[in-house]
């Protein structure tokens, strides 16, 4: 089976949503929503616009990709529900991308980079990447645990809720859509993709507040 050539990818983990359409000629089409329009209003017009611009029908897609988290619970769910709705009749393989890997790629560095995002409730999502490859699994730690890690370079789309003065903060260089396109392009299976799931499953990494409370947390 030939590798997938037309891939539509979506991210809505942090703030505005981003999307890209990878095409056989190698140059991806990119799009991002604005800050003020809710995801429920903006994501589908954005995706539709990408396909229109490329002159591609939904049925010509080979694969879908979704940023599965960690990140905003609602953002992850809207993206995953959208991917499932698109795929209800298409039945395409769906590849998952870490939302933290996208942020790491936005930093555009050949060195090891940490991604640290505020997960609220006193926690942080953290990942450690080098050239798009995870050096350890993404995880959710308390801010106190994060502050105890050896200081290093980090990138973040949210404001840290702990003092990280000994850390070196790197600003994102690439747009979210650019980073998403690059990662999907690198991580897309080169051979048979039939074994991939047909839906996106969010990586919440945190239970709900009610579950934490019930567990005494």
């Amino acid at each position: 089976m030939s590798p997938p050539q037309r891939i539509l990818a979506l991210d809505a983990a942090y703030g505005p949503a981003a999307a890209c359409l990878l095409l056989p000629d190698g140059k991806p089409l990119l799009a991002e929503t604005d800050q003020n329009t809710p995801h429920s209003q903006s994501i589908l017009p954005m995706l539709h616009g990408l396909l229109e611009k490329a002159g591609v029908d939904w049925q010509q897609l080979d694969m879908l990709a979704a940023s599965v988290g960690p990140g905003s619970f609602t953002g992850l769910r809207v993206a995953a529900a959208t991917i499932s709705g698109l795929n209800a009749s298409l039945g395409l393989p769906v590849m998952s991308v870490s939302s933290l890997a996208i942020t790491a790629w936005q930093a555009d560095t050949p060195e090891r980079i940490w991604v640290i995002e505020d997960a609220r409730s006193g926690d942080a999502y953290i990942g450690c990447y080098k050239l798009g490859v995870a050096l350890q699994p993404d995880q959710c730690l308390s801010w106190q645990e994060v502050a105890e890690l050896p200081a290093a370079s980090f990138v973040s789309l949210t404001e840290p809720a702990a003092e990280l003065s000994t850390w070196q903060r790197v600003a994102p260089v690439h747009s979210r859509a650019e980073a998403l396109a690059e990662l999907v392009s690198r991580q897309a299976p080169q051979g048979d993709s039939a074994s991939l799931p047909r839906r996106a499953i969010p990586a919440y990494m945190q239970p709900s507040q009610a579950e934490r409370k019930a567990a005494g947390g």
């Binding site: 769910r77 809207v78 969010p202 709900s208």
Partner: protein, 340 residues
């Protein structure tokens, strides 16, 4: 026409396929409901974040299942009907995002449906919808209201609860009795064989001519009654009698106000809908009272009293038949008043 109905407004994930004829007849070809009641029970009520996660996990395979069972392809569907509100924001967004995306790919219009309007018309599923106008008592965990329905999309709110909904009163009373969530079925079960006249609980607002309700005082009366029976002396029959007394008090108020609404409006057709409409004691009281007063009473099948997708598809079918158009822009409406 073929309509896929989707419901994710609270703690039931549901999908259904409806086939409707130009003559206005509708039948359900396939339907599924996944209840989350057991998942939320240990928290004593619905946890919105958990509900949303469960909807996302349950909905896509459920839609595939009803499509398969009804032997319907996406290209044959004429419409997708999805609950747009009122309900839990995160939960609504799952159904809406899925529905809109599926509609976009397959070029199928997506109709946003008012969840409570769908409950109003649920008695039309599998049986005849009463002639307009009719009076509906809409009674659930979140709502207790009396509505005059003049046509599809033409309603007049006659009265509603000023504090707790009847279902909420069942839930809170159940908690006082040490019973699990949801309270309605738990109290109904405990009330079997109990003496409904043993504990003199109030029938709030019955002495007023208006059609509003209030159940918070009844809940307080239950609390005081429970406290008068110390744990150590509490016998099973005490609890059974108290459950029966609570059920009777709630039912008395709901039935009396509903009948009053019919009389005041001079409309002899009464519909009871919503989750609490599944309560057997209440159904029996409605039927008895209606027979005495010569009212026609319409109640949905038990499975269409609680949240379901068949009623969402049916509401869209009625709206389409009535010439309703889909607005150019719409979104989830967690608060969406039922009034036209």
């Amino acid at each position: 026409m073929l309509i896929l109905g989707i419901e994710t407004s609270c703690d039931e994930t549901a999908a259904a396929i409806l086939e409707g004829s130009d003559a206005g007849e509708a039948r359900i070809l396939a339907e599924r409901i996944a209840s989350q009641i057991d998942i939320h029970a240990r928290f004593g009520g619905v946890v919105p974040e958990i509900a949303s996660r469960e909807h996302l996990a349950a909905l896509p395979p459920m839609v595939n299942a009803v499509m398969d069972e009804a032997a319907v392809d996406w290209e044959k569907l004429d419409m997708i009907a999805v609950t747009a509100g009122p309900g839990l924001m995160g939960a609504l967004l799952v159904g809406i995002s899925y529905a809109r995306a599926a509609g976009l790919v397959n070029d199928i219009p997506v109709m946003p449906v008012h969840h409570m309007q769908a409950h109003l018309f649920a008695p039309g599923l599998g049986q005849r919808l009463p002639d307009f106008p009719f009076i509906t008592l809409l009674v659930s965990g979140g709502h207790t209201m009396l509505i005059r329905v003049d046509d599809v999309g033409r309603f007049h709110l006659l009265g509603q609860t000023l504090d707790d909904a009847a279902g909420e009163c069942f839930d809170k009373s159940a908690r006082l009795l040490g019973l699990p969530y949801p309270g309605g079925p738990a109290i109904a079960q405990l009330a079997q064989g109990g003496n409904p006249r043993r504990f003199p609980l109030p029938r709030p607002m019955l002495n007023r001519d208006d059609l509003n309700f209030s159940f918070s005082g009844l809940k307080t009366a239950v609390m005081h009654t429970v406290r008068k029976i110390p744990d150590i002396e509490r016998k099973p029959e005490d609890m059974s009698d108290l459950a029966a007394s609570i059920e009777a008090a709630i039912a008395d108020v709901l039935v009396a106000k509903s009948v009053r609404a019919c009389e005041q409006q001079d409309v002899p057709r009464l519909v009871m809908a919503g989750g609490v409409a599944a309560n057997t004691c209440l159904r029996e009281q409605f039927e008895t009272k209606a027979e005495v007063l010569g009212l026609d009473v319409f109640m949905p099948d038990l499975k269409y009293c609680t949240d379901n997708a068949a009623m969402i598809a049916y509401s869209a079918f009625l709206q389409n038949q009535a010439g309703d158009t889909i607005p150019d822009e719409w979104d989830a409406k967690p608060r969406w008043p039922l009034s036209k």
